[in-house]
């Protein structure tokens, strides 16, 4: 072990500091992607926000894509904490998705990051493409499962197809975010989502 290397000590060690710094950089990068998109956020731009050189960034991440991957990982961790509550009845899931929409409305930066990346990542060779393929599949499955259970309990209107309704719910959420970011104040995200869900249910929510 050479002299200048940080130690893995349990006390106050350099590794913990490095990890914290890394996480701080990931948060700043997420902000930058939200502000100017992935394409627009150069390593130099992000580095400036972190107060280092762009080469300093490459000390923490091997290349630009690795930084993006870290940002997406972080987003998933935060979201799953929000999305997957401990106790989950179907109605609770629906309520949680509505809560998530209200939560998003208070965090425009994250919504912006998500909307821009999702559109860029439509291209098959985009570094975040497979992330979004999986993201959509699992989100659809999550909502579909909740709707399916509501159906079993006879809570859905007749003629409602859980699969189509789930894809619709996810699409609605995405589309509302674009409209809302484009003209905030013109669109009530949670309100439209609630109206959508009401139309699926035999009896109104709450």
């Amino acid at each position: 072990m050479s002299a200048g290397e940080p130690k893995v000590s349990a006390s106050s060690g350099g590794y913990a500091k490095g990890r914290a710094r890394r996480e701080q950089i990931v948060a700043l990068a997420a902000e930058a992607y939200g502000d100017v998109g992935y394409h627009g956020a150069s390593l130099r731009e992000i580095a400036k926000r972190a107060g280092i050189s762009h080469v300093g960034l490459l000390y923490y991440f091997p290349n630009r894509e690795a930084l993006l991957a870290a940002v997406l990982e972080r987003r998933d961790e935060q979201d799953s904490a929000l999305l997957a509550p401990r106790v989950s009845s179907p109605r609770a899931v629906v309520q949680h998705l509505l809560d998530l929409a209200e939560h998003n409305a208070r965090h425009a930066g994250m919504v912006d990051l998500y909307v821009r990346l999702a559109a860029e990542a439509v291209a098959e060779d985009h570094p975040a493409h497979s992330y979004f393929v999986e993201h959509y599949a699992s989100t659809r499955a999550y909502v579909q499962r909740a709707l399916g259970e509501l159906a079993e309990q006879g809570m859905l209107r007749e003629g409602v197809d859980a699969q189509a309704a789930a894809a619709g719910f996810v699409a609605l959420m995405d589309g509302l975010q674009v409209q809302w970011l484009t003209s905030p104040g013109e669109v009530d995200m949670a309100g439209v989502l609630r109206a959508y869900v009401q139309q699926l249910l035999r009896e109104p929510l709450q």
Copy 2:
């Protein structure tokens, strides 16, 4: 009028040829935006598709933004031809929007252009920002008007708010396009839209 200038003759004049070439370039640019996004489509990339140098492009358009503006103008012309049929009953409008979704599903390039630009243009300083602000406002108004007339004829379910439902319809269309581009085959755009409309109506369509 100087000697080298093309004439505005009604016969076979240079202007007509220039205009045709210009339109051809706009079409090629739209394709390029669809393939790699506005950010990704450099003047050199588009010029290559047109078989000229990137400076040749600047002979037809003063700068990069002017080319984008021309592409958006063209899209609007094509869309309004599709969107605004001669005879327009409310039900016809709804049917036309469903038709438009089916039309889109056969023209992935245009959808791609639209989705990518809409996301990029969320930024207030994006050259296409005001275009999308107006696009969303007018599309929402268009759908809302149709739904309002359906409501007057007692064709909407009780509790359906035309304004929220219109924003929802537009959002659904946008969101479905992203999912469909990301994983074609996983999402049936027209099917989900039809299901949405059915839920709004007292009696099923057709």
